[in-house]
Point group: C2
Chain length 331, copies 2
């Protein structure tokens, strides 16, 4: 039986197709908030590209997109799109309670199925790593989930509580605006305040520093221009209201290094907060495009580090809901 | 002789028409980076709405918009648009050196005419308030300019140096994203990290708190929805990845108050930095839509406060270049 796992995000659609134990992934950047009415057709098209499946397992974070007034409205919209994209297919929706429910039941419990994708990944990781800290640094956000005795030991289950607990840190490897990471950066002999504009994102920082390739820079660029290193430099110069005629390559490198460090310490602070609450495990399991950031953020804590299978890591929740549905006894 | 003063910003066009000592203003929100090719036509239309003029005085900050690769390119583009919008009209461009030059000369000195609008306002203020701190809190940025002995005593003249000196603080009364002001906000008994997204802006904060009216909320809303208090609340709830079904009005008020205070202290820190360098004057002169923020930011410093004439304050640089050109002996 083939299963299609869907992780419906506000900026990225991630699909995983599970067939005979083998998983294939597909990631499709899609700015949902800009054209929500196209969601069902983009989902259907991506699923066709990946290959068909009899059953569909769904998780989402797209309900937070600002085209929806409330999470309730967002969850309902996403479920409508799933039903329209996969008519007649059996669809199951994963919740933060670790269970699958029908689309009909999910509509009635929007706060259970909203933003449950981290629970899917962590539950799957718990099966093979019963005592570990799970870190998924995605394009936009970071999940930090403790696992002990083979069970997910999250202390919080909705987004605001997870942000408070340090289990969700809203910083990622690509889409995060530089102006949301730092207030100031080094510039020549002193510090320089930054522009509160969407001039550059951390994808520009990591591309400039050679940690992300042009091909991995899958999100939109802030200025709509290209993803070359020099184009990223133009955007980074603008962060201090300068341009590439005013700054040297070295000036830009110092700015980028500072932003990268600040982002690492944002994640370290989440890890520290989580490890104050649970006994520290010996192992950290990493997933997501930003595993290189997670490694640095973990360095103060002395854990041994294991990366998830690279065939599933970039879309861990999509692969996880597919596997979890395959193993589920209930549905 | 009638004069048209233009302050060409990246998000706002401000025009002032000076005739017989009387000034009339017009402000037109225009997202230049989205459709730069329309600049000349929007300028011409706005000038027609305000009434004709024989001479045109220009200042700009639009060269920073990210549709331009460099300031040189941006300055050239804006000057082209001015020439196209006002053919046959005598146009003069104001520079950070306090002088007017022809459009042809300005093209050759892009770094002199880029972001010179603060100098125009401060020079005009210096004529009537020879010893003062000039504070212009606009929709997007804040200028803090010391004036002593009737002269502008800026220590820096380009944007990055001004950001370093505290004379430019990139925070304003409307367009600033909440995620660029705070890393966390109070939520119930503890702190909550914020989403690094363009979910809410300070216009939502000040509208929620009753400091800005719907009519004064002249910029675009982040989610493209309306400017009512309840719609602003929806956006503010999203800052902590919540929605209005999860938060009370009081929760949102506490978030808004925290952001407002953080913004005030950003500006106070600029003022403090400037006043370390120059002998503190007794008087502060305020301009811009965010005078209510400037007042709070100045409260630790014990200066007496004077607001600019409300007929020119919201578009001080446009009015200033018009007046300065009228008084100029050279051109």
């Amino acid at each position: 039986v083939t299963i299609l796992g869907l992780d419906v995000g506000g900026a990225n659609l991630k699909l995983a197709r599970l067939e005979g134990g083998e998983v294939s992934l597909l990631e499709r950047p899609f700015a949902l908030w800009r054209e929500p009415h196209r969601l069902h057709e983009v989902l259907a098209e991506a699923a066709r590209d990946l290959g068909g499946a009899r059953r569909v397992a769904v998780t989402m974070t797209a309900e937070l997109a600002d085209c929806f007034r409330t999470k309730r409205e967002g969850v309902g919209f996403v479920l409508d799109a799933v039903e329209r994209a996969f008519p007649g297919r059996e669809a199951w929706v994963y919740g933060v309670d670790g269970r699958f429910q029908t689309v009909g039941d999910a509509r009635l419990q929007p706060y259970v199925v909203a933003a449950a994708n981290w629970m899917a990944s962590a539950t799957l990781v718990a099966a093979s790593s019963p005592d570990a800290l799970f870190l998924d640094v995605g394009s936009t956000t970071t999940d930090i989930v403790p696992i002990a005795g083979g069970r997910v030991r999250a202390s919080a289950f909705d987004d605001p509580s997870r942000l408070q607990a340090g289990e969700l840190v809203y910083t990622g490897a690509l889409r995060t605006p530089v102006s949301a990471v730092v207030r100031s950066v080094p510039l020549r002999a002193s510090r320089c305040r930054v522009a509160a504009e969407h001039f550059a994102i951390v994808a520009d920082v990591h591309l400039w520093l050679g940690r992300v390739s042009e091909g991995d820079y899958t999100c939109e660029t802030p200025d709509g221009r290209g993803r070359s290193r020099s184009e990223a430099g133009v955007r980074l110069a603008r962060v201090v209201c300068a341009d590439v005629e005013m700054l040297s390559e070295e000036d830009i490198t110092r700015i980028a290094e500072h932003v990268a460090r600040a982002q690492v310490s944002q994640i370290s602070s989440g890890v520290r907060q989580v490890l104050r609450r649970v006994p520290s495990p010996r192992l950290a399991v990493l997933a997501g495009r930003g595993a290189f950031i997670a490694r640095e953020a973990l360095s103060p804590f002395g854990l041994s580090i294991q990366e998830m299978d690279p065939r599933t890591s970039p879309a861990a929740p999509a692969a996880a809901v597919a596997r979890l549905l395959a193993e589920a006894k209930g549905p």
